[in-house]
Amino acid sequence: MADAVSSCILKVEDLKVEFPLGGGVFGNRRIVHAVNGVDLELRSGECLGLVGESGCGKSTVALSIMGLQSPTGGRIILDGQDIAAPGIDRRERARVAQIVFQDPYSSLNPRQTVRKTLEAPLRLHGIKARSEIDDRIAEVLARVGLRPEQGRRYPHEFSGGQRQRVGIARALILKPKIIVLDEPVSALDVSIRAQIINLLLEMKDSLGLAYVMISHDLGVVEHMSDRVAVMYLGRIVETADWETIFTRPRHPYTRALIAAIPDPFGTGIGAKIPGEVPNPIDPPAGCSFHPRCPHAIDICRQPPTPDLEEIDGGHFVRCRRARDFV
């Protein structure tokens, strides 16, 4: 970990994504802060788990990294290059970062054979020789556990697990360094998930890939991640290595998320938090978690929003009372 800083291949700095809402008949134009100042670092060969409930902004962060959502503020530096810099070729970004989507049914073109889906990016990136294309496709299909002749098939001819393998092959074909995994197994049958999780972990080691993995399944996140960032209402509220997050979480929200997972060996469901994620149009003042927080005191309700503070080496928490919870 000595060269951890130097091997940073993705840096997200103060990322902001805002969506305007409504034309405002009465002139009350409102703004949703979907992502509100997110900083992230991804080191090469590392899996960063991004967790949080629906609406917390985790998918918007992923889309921004992929250049599929323009930020309204902040920077994304991919392998040393600002992706928004003028004159930057989108193809260059595509060679560094790729994405695997949640739903392998809707993220593949149903009218293209798998081969065609895999061939298009190669041609776009200047690989035109038939023999080289054949080799690359055979190689990537073998890599994800599919047979070469399966390249002639259409997506509907595959099962869900195989289709996700095709989605992974599509992400791998340009040999990227980073793959964004957006809920990679949650659309799959439970008995199929292990196959895909094992494949992703094995590829990470053998190909030296770095992952940004979004998931609401904390079991999967704990199993796969090296570091974890927990998001709530557009902000990171806690980040640390996986072991710290899962054994010594400090933010009350992280604790509640972990406690909410039904424990098959236990009898109770654990400590719960009341209520639901507030509407991001109207985030609460002060700490945005305070209305649901069992430990909230007056200071938590006062603006400004607490900072993300380092309370231990590499362990950052956005909570005024973080030091009270040991």
Binding site: S159, R193, G219, F246, D263, F265, E276
Partner: protein, 326 residues
């Protein structure tokens, strides 16, 4: 919970009739639920757990139909009762909560009115009286400001609130049996924990028996006293919830548990490769011959392909359906 049996399913068959052919979507399923007990049914998509629930509440629609067996509810065989009798039982003594509360609620009617309907239909209340009872019912499922919320339409409520409304409708007439089909799958984990607690509290207060359906083995083991595991239309194992994780008996259950990245496992034992279950979940039109799990089972031998295994009783009152048991 009393020892009195409330629901007894005996040799239930459900058939899917397509283009003149008939397939057994559910084959020879038997189990019983005691008064006030919470019984869990787990399995992957297409295993027959939801259609079993629909058969109990009399909502099977072509191409699905009953193929045989008895559904004894409080001594009455629901497989043979008239549709008028079924209509009077449904909602009054047997109720159901569905996975997706947005599609299960009427978008054009205020939620209070949808709850009130239950009292008008089943208890002969006047609308005025029923609306008052509806507000009370909303309060009992812990909806804040129930008087105001009763006038809201479903789209004005969050997912968790809608599911509370569904539960209020289901429990309005104090049914003896509540069928909960993946009631929290569409919800965030912290909201899921609250809804599960609500179902648990209300059912124990009122002595309602619950049949909980889920693909999440952890959730079922945590909520229920006994668990049935379904695979490809068969009940392959039934056990006490406290035993199912510790001493699973069927190769499918064992495989499923070993394939799950359980929260806390990595911190305790380090990262182990997840055990994969080979192959795919078969679809109802090509369920395999013999033991339906045999193509994916590591123990499979000739006998598994040739014959359907009988249920072997377990010491704790459960059973397992496997040729290689013992």
């Amino acid at each position: 919970m009393s020892d009195e049996t409330l629901l007894s399913i005996e040799n239930l068959y459900i058939e899917l009739r397509l283009d003149g052919a008939s397939y057994s979507a559910v084959k020879d399923v038997s189990f019983s639920i005691r008064r006030g007990e919470t019984f869990g049914l787990v399995g992957e998509s297409g295993c027959g757990k939801s259609v079993t629930a629909l058969a109990i509440i009399g909502l099977l629609k072509p191409p699905l139909g009953l193929g045989g067996g008895r559904i004894l509810f409080d001594g009455e065989d629901l497989a043979t009762v008239s549709s008028a009798r079924m209509r009077s039982l449904r909602g009054d003594r047997i109720a159901m909560v569905f996975q997706e509360p947005m599609t299960a609620l009427n978008p054009l009617s205020p939620v209070g009115r949808q709850i009130a309907e239950m009292f008008v239909l089943h208890k002969g209340a006047t609308w005025h009286e029923a609306e008052r009872l509806a507000v009370k019912a909303l309060g009992s499922v812990r909806v804040p400001a129930p008087e105001r919320r009763a006038r809201d339409y479903p789209h004005q409520l969050s997912g968790g609130m809608r599911q509370r409304v569904m539960i209020a409708i289901a429990l309005a007439c104090d049914p003896d049996l509540l069928l909960a089909d993946e009631p929290t799958t569409a919800l965030d984990v912290t909201v899921q924990a609250e809804i599960l607690e609500l179902i648990r509290d209300l059912s124990s207060e009122r002595g309602t028996a619950v049949m909980m359906i889920s693909h999440d083995l952890g959730l079922i083991a945590n909520m229920c006293s006994r668990v049935g595991v379904m695979y490809a239309g068969r009940l392959v194992e039934q056990q006490d919830a406290s035993s199912i994780f510790r001493r699973p008996q069927h190769p499918y259950t064992k495989g499923l548990i070993a394939s799950l990245p359980l929260l806390g496992a990595r911190a305790k034992y380090g990262r182990r490769a997840l055990q994969e279950i080979s192959g795919v979940v078969p679809s109802v039109v090509d369920f395999p011959r013999g033991c339906r799990f045999n193509p994916r089972c590591s123990l499979s031998t000739n006998i598994c392909v040739e014959g359907d295994p009988e249920a072997s009783p377990l010491d704790n009152g459960g059973f397992v359906r496997c040729h290689h048991h013992g």
